[in-house]
């Protein structure tokens, strides 16, 4: 039996997440052995027609054209997995959702009338049914391999929605909020990065978006009262790569 066909699709994004697949290096041969990489322009210009058993979708929906194209991708895909903060939450470019996009196009482009864009940047799941959302800005390549493996083996991916703190504490890191008084989004952020920033004494930026049951209000209240964070600090903390993810969106808007 032929290997299942895999396609990688790009919408509004930086390509960093799909490059995680090429970044697999040691495991890339195993990937190529398990699936037929049928449509992956970053890797090869040879495109094999669909349908595809597995589609990895990177990027958010920001244009009328892309809003149509994602429906076509869905129609050609068995399993559709979104990868990264853009595809799962609208990405950093969803900051436009709080502002006037026409004002931006006038400021940036010499002839803004050529620009056909939507007023918002939104997640793929706002447009079509998504089978699995893999978080991160960028995603963790080992989690990507795990998700591909899990779908090929027809099992649930081992991807936990617990907090970054769990990974941080397992590593034996010293909590930078408690020991240094620095705000950190770890307690409200979805695990998966291996507590990368806190391991280098930086607060978590929330790249992986909200964890399950994120108590953003409590964390923000503590940062304000006890750590001296300003409303602007807090708004910037929550309105970042996952700005349009509902809990982060709402918490950031609390400071408007």
């Amino acid at each position: 039996m032929a290997n299942p066909k895999l396609a990688v699709w790009k919408f509004a994004s930086c390509d960093g997440c799909q490059l995680s697949l090429l970044d697999c290096e040691d495991e890339l041969l195993a990937v190529a052995g398990a699936v037929e990489i049928a449509n992956f322009p970053e890797a090869s210009s040879a495109i094999i027609d669909g349908p595809y058993e597995i589609s990895l979708v990177e990027g958010s929906i920001t244009t009328p054209h892309d809003a149509e194209r994602i429906r076509d991708v869905r129609a050609q895909s068995g399993v559709l997995i979104t990868i990264g903060a853009c595809a799962t939450a609208g990405g950093i470019q969803a900051l436009r959702n709080f502002a006037d996009v026409e004002e931006f196009t006038r400021a940036v482009y010499a002839t803004p009338e050529y620009i056909s864009t939507l007023a918002t940047s939104t997640a793929i799941s706002d447009h079509v049914k998504v089978d699995f959302e893999l978080r991160g800005c960028p995603i963790n390549k080992y989690q990507l391999l795990e998700v591909i493996t899990a779908f090929l083996q027809r099992r649930k991916p081992n991807v936990s929605a617990q907090s970054v703190c769990v990974e941080c504490k397992r590593k034996g890191n010293v909590c930078i909020t408690v020991a240094h008084g620095e705000p950190c989004l770890g307690p409200v952020t979805h695990a998966g990065c291996g507590a990368l920033c806190p391991s280098y004494n930086r607060g978590c930026y929330g790249c992986f978006g909200p964890k399950e049951l994120p108590n953003t209000a409590s964390l923000a209240a503590w940062a304000k009262q006890e750590l001296g964070a300003s409303d602007t600090d807090l708004k910037r903390l929550y309105h970042n790569f996952n700005t349009w993810a509902q809990p982060f969106r709402d918490q950031g808007q609390a400071y408007d």
């Binding site: 493996t149 929605a161 769990v166 590593k171 010293v174 909590c175 770890g186 503590w222």
Partner: protein, 369 residues
Amino acid sequence: MQARVLEAYQLHTLIGLLRERGYCCVGPTVRDGAIVYDRIAGPTDLPVGWTDEQAPGSYRLKRRDDGAYFGYVVGPHSWKKYVFPPERRLWQLKRAGQQFERVDEPSQTPKYAFIGVRACEIAALRIQDRVFTGGEFTEPEYEARRELAFVVAVNCTQSADTCFCVSMKTGPEVKSGYDLALTEVVGESHYFTIRAGTDRGREVLASLKTSAVNEAQRSAANTRVRQAAESQTRTVDTEGIKELLQRNYESEQWKEVAERCLSCANCTMACPTCFCSSVEDVADLTGEHAERWRRWDSCFNPEFSYIHGGEVRKTTASRYRQWMTHKLSTWFDQFGSSGCVGCGRCITWCPVGIDLTEEVRKMRAGETS
């Protein structure tokens, strides 16, 4: 055995003797703005002249004006990481034709000497002993590591603002469960009173250059430990606490604490008695190779209560209730003691400073009001 006096400069001899006997010495050391537990080569790796200031959700290192080796209390780490590691591969499977070949993980039982174990931490290790070795099934690696570990205990001569070992009756004085126990006295002279609690402790003590304790030295050591006890500000009224929690299963207090609780699991990770882990099987892409891993888990994690059909505890209120009720109440039924030793880690390392002792107090007040 009578206590002896060990001059402070002889601490390096003690650590040297343990190393000569094949022990990997681990103990407190300064890293990233906190006192953590890690390998130590000698006394200079200890947090000499440092102390800690702790409060709910806050920990700061401060300089002392003396050269004390143990002038602080407990930090973010506990000894459980050495006896029950946070992540451990249990075994692997490799495909061999139509069969799978099981590859057992070599037993990892390093011979540790724990330097500077506090009374509350000995109480915590004993609780974990009951969990891992006291029942029908034993965790063999835990058991082996514990038996091998040489415990150099230290009596606390100060308390942090978050300490409440006195009311949990676990400290600050080390009463048993040690190979050697020290009390540090820093003043006009700098020395330890030292006592052995086991044969292997006596053997090491006999190899050290010590002198008899005079009354002034004994009194100085005892006074410092007594002062540590007297300076504790946090308390838990443990009278009938098991029933208190069980009477309050439907209390509104759980909803109130859930407004602050982040369900981030920091309290359980920092707790020296929390022992939960999950076991995860992973197969690689080729299907030729699979591994089973065990990792520290927490009752605050979403998947923790997942059974067929979904999670049993879907809300933060239900998870906090589970944790606190288990720790202070149902632990008695399960393991014959409280699950709390009063070390205060859950208070200090909660990123929003939730105070277990305060929650107990509120619960009592809620019943009388």
